[in-house]
Amino acid sequence: MDSIVLTSLIVSLIAILVIFTVLIVLIYTIKLLVRLIPYEEPPAQKITSETLPKTSPPSVSPDIISAITAVMATHLGKSPQEFHITQINPK
């Protein structure tokens, strides 16, 4: 085999090993970081009658649908992809 082709194969092998080494070091660093600094839920805002809008909105915003989906998923123990909200009737 031509020496330059052999060199290129060696370079490729070494380079792949280096990339995997660097990224595996990063993976464990991230795992350590995530373990040391776990996610904490932001404190829930107290909802009082004063903070609620006086008039109901004309339509349900996507943010509200996302929030309802997240709460439903937690409550039902399912992934948000497993159910679909078809109708919301504000009272």
Binding site: V5, I14, A15, I30, V34, I37
Partner: protein, 400 residues
């Protein structure tokens, strides 16, 4: 001074570009028009191909002094930003400000997919050597498989500046063709059952981790591969602007105005290097073919590695996210989502694919760092230091 009508007419005709137009110039003007057509009507990476095409057009108009080699010309000044590796890191600064590493932090093992997709880089390197390129040139061509334009330009300008134009054009052209190149390979390498795998919802990540992450990556990667510091350092600085929450103005500037301005300068500079003598060569055709091979192998490498990870995890990973390990953010992730949704419309892979997608940015930068460590010319850095010293002394000598 007396001028007859004939003399005046001859002189004026002689001063027009038509008198100096060569077949090579004409062909390159045609190439520029094709790039403009692809950008405007076919919407192939228009933000880049349009200024590259126009830069190419300007560079090939005879007597216009707009080629990158025309000393004192406008685009020659822009080209200094490529030559001295200033513009690609600035693009990375903007990319960092635009990138959310949350999906990667939530599932760090997807970093391996970013590494696996770099296999395309190395198979292409071997292929390029087979086709007669030397190792430096082959490295610069191989990095096209990283699907990262700024990294390709950075490496080409460092290791094979004479191949910069075809490498940049191949990289950006194939990036725009990701939605066409990747899906057949993804379908070919996966079964319908694998494509239907639904992945668990990603865990939320603490904001503190998101802030510490860019600092840690900079320290770890740049200590291991110092050559990659300009690219990775800027990427992580941009991300720190985003996540720190205390530099809103800098974040806003880098993710909008700065990246737009730098993209214009970079693309025009690359376009200006596309002259007949650098582009109309057999090497260009070889690079175009090798670029396609690089993209295909990178996609296949990512998907195959994701299949292995899927088997090892007991079917918790959808192999389709492996193809997003090539950089091309966020297009490659969108392709994973699209191919997954074709099999099962209720399967949402986008956020899962964003992990390997941003890992691909880091992976291609690390791959570039390996090449710089192996083939980088240390005298170039000393030249930079010399230039910086000259500039500082010139500024110091200016009257106050």
């Amino acid at each position: 001074m007396e001028l007859t009508f004939g003399d005046a007419a001859t002189k004026i005709i002689g001063s027009t570009g038509f008198s100096s137009l060569t077949l090579g110039d004409g062909t390159m003007i045609l190439v520029a028009c094709i790039l403009l057509y692809l950008a405007i009507w076919k919407k192939f990476e228009p933000l880049l191909l349009l200024p590259i095409g126009f830069g190419c057009l300007l560079a090939n108009l005879p007597l216009s002094m707009m080629a990158s080699t025309d000393s004192g010309g406008l685009l020659n000044f822009f080209y200094q930003g490529v030559k001295y590796e200033i513009l690609p890191p600035l693009v990375f600064l903007g990319v960092g400000a635009l990138t959310d590493f949350g999906p990667l932090l939530a599932n760090p093992s997807t970093l391996l997919l970013g590494a696996a997709a770099q296999i395309g880089v190395y198979t292409t390197l071997v292929g390029a050597v087979f086709l007669g390129f030397d190792l430096k040139e082959a490295s610069a061509i191989g990095i096209i498989g990283g699907a990262d334009g700024p990294t390709s330009i950075f490496i080409a300008s460092k290791l094979a500046p004479h191949l910069l134009a075809p490498i940049a054009v191949a990289a950006y052209s194939y990036m725009s063709l990701v939605p066409l190149i990747q899906p057949p390979i993804m379908r070919w390498l996966t079964t319908a059952g694998e494509r239907k795998i639904k992945m668990e919802q990603l865990k939320p990540i603490s904001q503190t981790v998101k802030i510490i992450f860019p600092v840690v990556v900079t320290i770890v990667c740049c200590l291991m591969l110092p050559g990659v510091t300009p690219l990775l350092g800027m990427l992580m600085l941009g991300n720190l602007f985003r996540e720190s929450g205390v530099t809103a103005r800098l974040h806003e500037t880098t993710e909008t105005h700065l990246i737009n301005i730098v993209t214009i300068l970079l693309a025009l500079a690359v376009g200006s290097s596309m002259t007949a003598d650098t582009f109309l060569r057999l090497e260009t055709i070889k690079i175009i073919i090798l670029g396609l091979l690089a993209f295909c192998m990178a996609t296949a490498g990512g998907v195959i590695f994701a299949k292995v990870m899927s088997k090892l995890s007991g079917g918790k990973i959808n192999p389709l996210i492996g193809s997003a390990g090539v950089s091309a953010v966020p297009m490659a992730a969108r392709v994973s989502q699209k191919v997954g949704a074709e099999e099962d419309p209720s399967n949402f892979l986008l956020m899962h694919a964003m992990g390997p997608n941003v890992a691909g940015v880091i992976g291609s930068a690390v791959a570039a760092g390996v090449f710089i460590s192996l083939f980088g010319d240390p005298t170039v850095d000393s030249n930079h230091a010399e230039i910086a010293t000259n500039i500082i002394s010139t500024i110091s000598s200016l009257p106050k």
